[in-house]
Amino acid sequence: MALSERLRAFFRARYPLDQLTELAAHKTVPLHRHSFWYYWGGITLLLVAVQIASGLLLLLYYRPSAEAAFESVKFIMTKVEFGWLIRSVHAWAANLAILAAFVHLTSAFFLKAYRPPRELTWVTGVCALFLLLGFGFTGYLLPWNTLAFFATKVGTEIAGIVPVMGPWVQRFLRGGPDVGDVTLTRFFWFHIAVLPMCLFALMGLHLLMIQVQGMSKPLSVKEERAIRFLPNFLLRDLVAWVIALGIVLCLSVYWPATLGTKADPFGSTPAGIAPEWYFLWMFQTLKLVPGHVLGIEGELIAVALTSVAGAVLVLVPWLDRPARAGRSSWIVAALGVLGLAYVIGMTVYAHFFAGAG
């Protein structure tokens, strides 16, 4: 008996392998004019995998302390064989993972993939996107350069605006009254321990539910065409993954991640401090809201509006009542377009016209 056969027999005797292979063999994916959007979840998954792999490699040399972080990243960039590539891939794949997750979420919204019984697939997906943003926020500080230091200072200041919990959250994030060595340690702890555990759990649930419930089909699609998941859809997924990898590599080689200057906590805030692009729309909202509206602090209003927007996004499967009844509603679609236009518009405005780029 061949080795592979013997191994299969060994596992078959212990686990219900046949059920799994049966499930895989019969799993299908709907085929229609919107099938293109199905690949974005897989692309996000691949980019997260790239993040884990490149992050593990960076951990071999990265040292999480205010004294050593900047130097260790510089060492990675200049001395470690292919270190520049690993760090650039980590930086670019992080941005692309958030972009891919955002595209995935947007397509799921407009194709109404959150209809019953897939509400929890949507909720876990939205929460996973929030976690990716958390990865971005915590990872940005880790090189301990000037830009990241002051952007984190501003970012954690915003957390302090929230009434009651705000000051506590801010202190918890910073580990003290100001951003410092302890903040870096905490952000590192979030970035490599807490957030990955939460993300694994959420993505596990998300994928499990997709396997159990299958992929959603848009309301407008009536035909019953489908392709097998194995190997037809997976092969298409692989093509998308190879393209995504190629894009990450091109960006990393032609626009490698920069490091800037080491953060000086006692230095003055440099001009043009701005968060990463995916936070720009929130940052711009904060800047545009007047100082006081009806006696309430403007920043508080902006933070409240953003929080409400987040909550609404999570609750979309229950708020979109027509979709629950199997009907599409132009009001929900229009609200979605408005929300998307606001986020994209504000990001573009902040980047190109408000000097945040």
């Binding site: 019969h26 709907p30 019953p116 065409r225 097998r228 990898l245 190629g246 590599l249």
Partner: protein, 431 residues
């Protein structure tokens, strides 16, 4: 004085008399100021500048210098010689007049214990002081530089003796040919100084550490440094250069010929930024003015110049390479560090020219060239790495494209196969 002016002065005195009579007792202590301020003639000049006068700010009154009774409201009583009024000292009396306080350590201590009290003694040893004692009326006295009633601290940027104002203050007399001609002195020093590397640093760049007239000539003790002392004057800042010169063969030669040390090659007031052209045997080389072709000195000059040029050439080439690598977006921090080191060695080698011995300067040149070569190597490596990355990317992309091609072929092959015979209906229809 015209009749109108005299009438005006009379009226002013009358008005002043009335004002003084009506002033309360507390204000009477300022009677000197009040009376003098009321005049329209030169007599009022001191009151116009005295507000920023350091003496007045520290509580020294008019009477402390001029005597008299400032509490008396009557002019005759206030300016009564019987009450110690000595009036306005003549120019001849000024040095001793100021020295009454400024040469008295116990008096000056109560204002500023760190203030020197040897200015008058030093002044008497200066060229100005010596001429003054010979009865020369042209020479500077205290008030020539410090002003009279508007004396400011030398730390005050508006003071004529503030470091950046000193050349201009000296030039008041030393650029005035009507005065200098009488003493057979040139008037070009200030112009020359302003063109010099020192003058440019002080007057144009505002570098307060740059030397000015008093740095080399002294202030109260101002005099020509003299042939022997010139080296010591320059050594205040250029100490290593001076040490090297003192141990060099030039030291004995200059002494034997009665030549000043630094000045022979660099000049005095018009010291230009030194260039490498001054070294060697070329048309601008100062070495060749004394050393004849065929002499050992001539050969050494030539050898030192070649060494400096070689280092400069290697440094320049390395700078170009590193700059090229940086423009390509490569990390060049270490190469730039090596460039800085090489540049520092070049500066050091230029200083060691003053040892006038090639073996003394050779180690600096060798170390500089080694650093330049390191920077060059790192720059070349960075450029090579840049191309390697791009070539590597393109090779990887070709592999990825081949992979995509293979996958597409596989997809086509599998798409042509019939669906799984025992498969369930597509799950995508839910709900």
């Amino acid at each position: 004085m015209s009749g109108t002016a005299r009438w005006g002065q009379g009226a002013a005195i009358l008005l002043l008399g009335i004002a003084v009579l009506q002033a309360p007792k507390a204000a009477a202590e300022e009677s000197c100021v009040e009376c003098h301020r009321a005049f329209e003639s030169d007599v009022s000049a001191p009151t116009q500048v005295m507000d920023h006068d350091i003496h007045r700010q520290r509580g020294v009154s008019c009477a402390d210098c001029h005597g008299g009774d400032p509490t008396a409201s009557d002019q005759a009583a206030a300016m009564d010689p019987a009450k110690g009024f000595i009036g306005r000292p003549s120019r001849r009396e000024i040095p001793q007049f100021c020295a009454r306080c400024h040469a008295d350590p116990s008096y000056m201590r109560k204002y500023n214990p760190n203030l020197p009290t040897d200015q008058f003694a030093k002044y008497l040893t200066s060229q100005h002081g010596k001429k003054f004692q010979q009865g020369d009326a042209d020479v500077a006295v205290c008030t020539s530089c410090h002003e009279v009633h508007g004396v400011r601290s030398k730390k005050d940027p508006l003071s004529p003796v503030y470091v950046t104002n000193i050349p201009g203050t000296c030039a008041t007399c030393h650029s005035d040919s009507s005065v200098m001609d009488r003493h057979g002195l040139p008037v070009t020093q200030h112009w020359e100084y302003a063109q010099s590397v020192h003058g440019q640093a002080l007057l144009m760049k505002g570098d307060r550490g740059a030397p000015h007239c008093a740095s080399c000539h002294g202030s109260h003790e101002a005099a020509k440094p003299g042939v022997v002392a010139i080296g010591n004057v320059c050594a205040q800042c250029h100490s290593l250069t001076r040490d090297l010169f003192a141990k060099s063969p030039h030291k004995a030669a200059h002494e034997a010929l009665g030549l000043p040390e630094c000045e022979v090659c660099h000049g005095n007031h018009l010291i230009r930024p030194p260039t490498d052209a001054m070294l060697g045997t070329g048309p601008d080389a100062v070495c060749a003015t004394c050393h004849q072709p065929g002499s050992a000195g001539y050969a050494t000059a030539q050898q030192m110049r070649e060494a400096i040029d070689g280092l400069k050439q290697e440094l320049g080439s390395a700078e170009t390479t590193v700059k090229q690598a940086a423009e390509l977006g490569m990390e060049t921090g270490e190469a730039e560090y090596a460039l800085n080191e090489a540049s520092a060695k070049l500066t050091q080698a230029r200083t060691y020219v003053h040892a006038f011995s090639f073996p003394a300067m050779e180690p600096m040149v060798k170390e500089g060239r080694a650093e330049a070569r390191t920077a060059q190597g790192q720059g070349v490596q960075a450029i090579h790495e840049y191309h390697f990355r791009r070539h590597g990317l393109w090779i990887t992309l070709v592999i990825l494209l081949a992979l995509i091609g293979g996958l597409l072929l596989l997809i086509r092959e599998h798409d042509q196969q019939p669906p799984h015979p025992s498969g369930p209906p597509p799950s995508g229809g839910a709900p």
